[in-house]
Subunit: 260 residues, 4 copies
């Protein structure tokens, strides 16, 4: 699936501020980044650093006054649908060193607090089917409602309120997985078919020796995701982190399929 | 049911401290307090004040060094079992002024945070059957485990951990009721048949113009409860509140049925 | 000080909902309510009930579609300034029964969590001066910022964020007082001189056998407050509680002094 | 400083459980690990993986019944005292990619919630002196009390309660640093001079292009620390993580100086 991605962001920074952008598509085996270009006002991006786990990249810029950012990317996604139901769950001692930290709780995924619930609700299900059941639970029990959560909402908050957006669905999914001893990380992505178009957050779980995408929102097909970056939770994959004060004036994200 | 209640408490107060006791059986239409006696070491209780909603009484004492407290009561409980399933839920505007505050959230019952969950889970059930379904949910989904919670645990905490003791079961039950617009208050009581014997916490919900007892733990029959006091949550019905530092050395509660 | 109070509220209720209003000025020794009138659209208010502690009143109405509420009151406030610095703090056992619950933590005032801080910061100060020091601390350490908190913000949240509005200042003040063994309740009021004009929240602390007003925001003089109601925290004194869904379209509060 | 480290742990695992140990001294430029040996009952350790940031190592073992673990290490610590007061704070865009995530909040370090407090309290202080002031604040305002916190206590909890142990002091210190835009990570270590001897938790802050140790507890000299591992907070540096149920029966840690 060939995707054309366009992002236009207008921000106002009352005072100069360092800004970390994580909006560039990662070069990965199942998504070939053909070409892309990040433009930051009249100036040049300051510096680019690798993302978490060496996936993707983050770019530092200097926000000052009214700043227009644009990003254009052409990417070929070739991700065969995989059924995770029958994949085995790794024994923790077999995990690669870099995967181990994705067993831990994090700022927005208090997986340590869900252990009894997860054991009671999903404990009897083996293998990848356990993760499928978790995603179905999140989809069934959570209401998707724009504006029902904010940047401080944690998985515990969402579990109680039963309301959230993609970020909260992903936090719950990751928390449940970790509480069951399955490594899980958050993934930011562009999603073909997502309505309304926006940055998307989904989850990857570690099964059978590799990471596998799960989207508990079911709002966009896995086959049309172009990943940006990964991390422990929303804090790691924020598309923009401002070291100071900044205010969004407008935001436009479009993902168009070119090969239909 | 005629009950003989015996309480013996040994506490150590390293420095003199004011202590508020709420361990005396309330005189109420469905429980006739025949006689009782509170003894506080060698000294006299300082002063007795009415409990919340004018139910029962609280006694101030002065804790100093090793203090032995004993309480003996003889009470005739005559509480016919009532089926609450078919009782109507009052419209909020019809509530007596004194009942209105039991609609609000409180320190340990964050009912405001459960509204979507309660609506989704119990919204289709009308009348007292809604409250029965809530009690069944708490009984079914929560694990009863001594030591799994402490005096800071709230209904939200228990909802997430799915573990607790009678206090937590009662907080969840009251929170669900309030979230559905049904007034609910916590009740402390002596409970015949409770194993191991201890102070018990249950809930009263306002249905059909009156308060009705609900015990989501199902650990003791409603017919054998001798109520002590009521309040918004555990903070109001604590059997002992120490204004300073005190340490329990031993605690013994026994409830014996005399008319069998 | 003679005050003319005018309130106009426009709300939209997509579906009929019961609404509890607490916007009427209380008749109290230090504030003589000369006349007032509550108008609720074309319909009549449903029913009036007494407020907490028998202070003031609450009125039930039925919200439906676009509803306009207006309230007009003429009140003579005669409240001599009292210096609370030198007033003695009551020993808990001397408190009236109805005052005791104001020692407890509540939904938005987790006073139990501030004990070590309060002891360390204010423990050496005796009598009413302790409460003055607490109000000064809140005024000095907290930033007043509209929009920095919402209806779910607790005293702990505000203590950490160091930002809030009158509601948060009052929650912190009440929490500190309770943590020091001084009963404290929240008070809603109209405040002459408050800019921008709005409903105001302050605190009453129990000193020397009576309640005394404290405003940690210092945004309006105590002498110009016309109290509406009291309660354990914001949940008890909310000017409007909607049992369903309602949306504010406009709100106007004005307090004019007539005797200048 | 040459240190001899001895650890003996007795645990009981009612059912077989995977256990991740992080108790081995890391090989680092300022601490030369001369020799060490980890013994796990009669069996062999299962597998060793690298720690966070490639520092130190973690060892998987299988807990079953009564398990005795012992660890012996001989380490030469050569860490000149460095005054961090005058070191410059890096501009975020200059941080190495691997250091960036230590700017984020984590499970037990909710640095995002302390921004206003940190700005108000430490905003006027430049460079490393800002971090010194933070450590002094933590030392001055927090009470060190064994048993005052547990494994679920976060920096926000400790900030409110003003009580904690080394773990909580470190969480607060790291949270303050991150809230000021200074990367901070938690460090587990053996500490010569710590009384009573135990595993210790301190902080490293990123200043002037490198990590620098800070111990807000002041309980042991920086020169006598033998680091084990690093991470975002306590969850990453736990000396033992049990995937199942285990109970400590005894724990002994001794750190002896050999070159005096």
């Amino acid at each position: 699936m060939r995707l054309n991605i366009e992002v236009d962001l207008d921000y106002h920074f009352p005072e100069p501020a360092d800004v970390l952008l994580a909006i560039e598509v990662a070069q990965l085996p199942d998504q070939l980044l053909i070409e892309d270009r990040l433009t930051v006002g009249a100036s040049q991006p300051l510096r680019t650093v690798a993302g978490e786990d060496g996936i993707g990249r983050r770019t530092w810029m200097r926000g000052e006054g009214l700043s227009h950012l644009s990003y254009r990317a052409l990417v070929e996604v070739d991700r065969p649908a995989t059924a995770i139901e029958s994949l085995p769950i790794a024994s923790p001692p077999d995990l690669p060193a870099a995967v181990v930290p994705y067993l831990w709780p994090s700022r927005y995924c208090e997986s340590d607090r869900f252990e009894a619930f997860v054991d009671k609700t999903f404990g009897a299900i083996a293998g990848g089917a356990k993760l499928v059941a978790m995603a179905e639970w999140v989809k069934r029990e959570m209401g998707y409602a724009a504006g029902s959560s904010d940047s401080t909402t944690t998985a515990v908050d969402a579990f109680v309120s039963r309301l959230g957006v993609c970020r909260d669905f992903a936090h719950l999914m990751a928390s449940f997985a970790r509480a069951a001893g399955v490594p899980a990380r958050l993934v930011s992505a562009y999603a073909w078919g997502l309505k309304p178009p926006d940055f998307h957050a989904i989850v990857e779980v570690w099964l059978d020796g590799g990471w596998h995408l799960v989207d508990a929102t079911c709002l966009a097909p896995i086959e049309g995701l172009a990943r940006i970056g990964v991390g422990r939770d929303a804090t790691d994959i924020a598309f923009m982190t401002i070291f100071g004060v900044g205010e969004m004036r407008s935001q436009r994200v479009t993902v168009t399929r070119l090969d239909e």
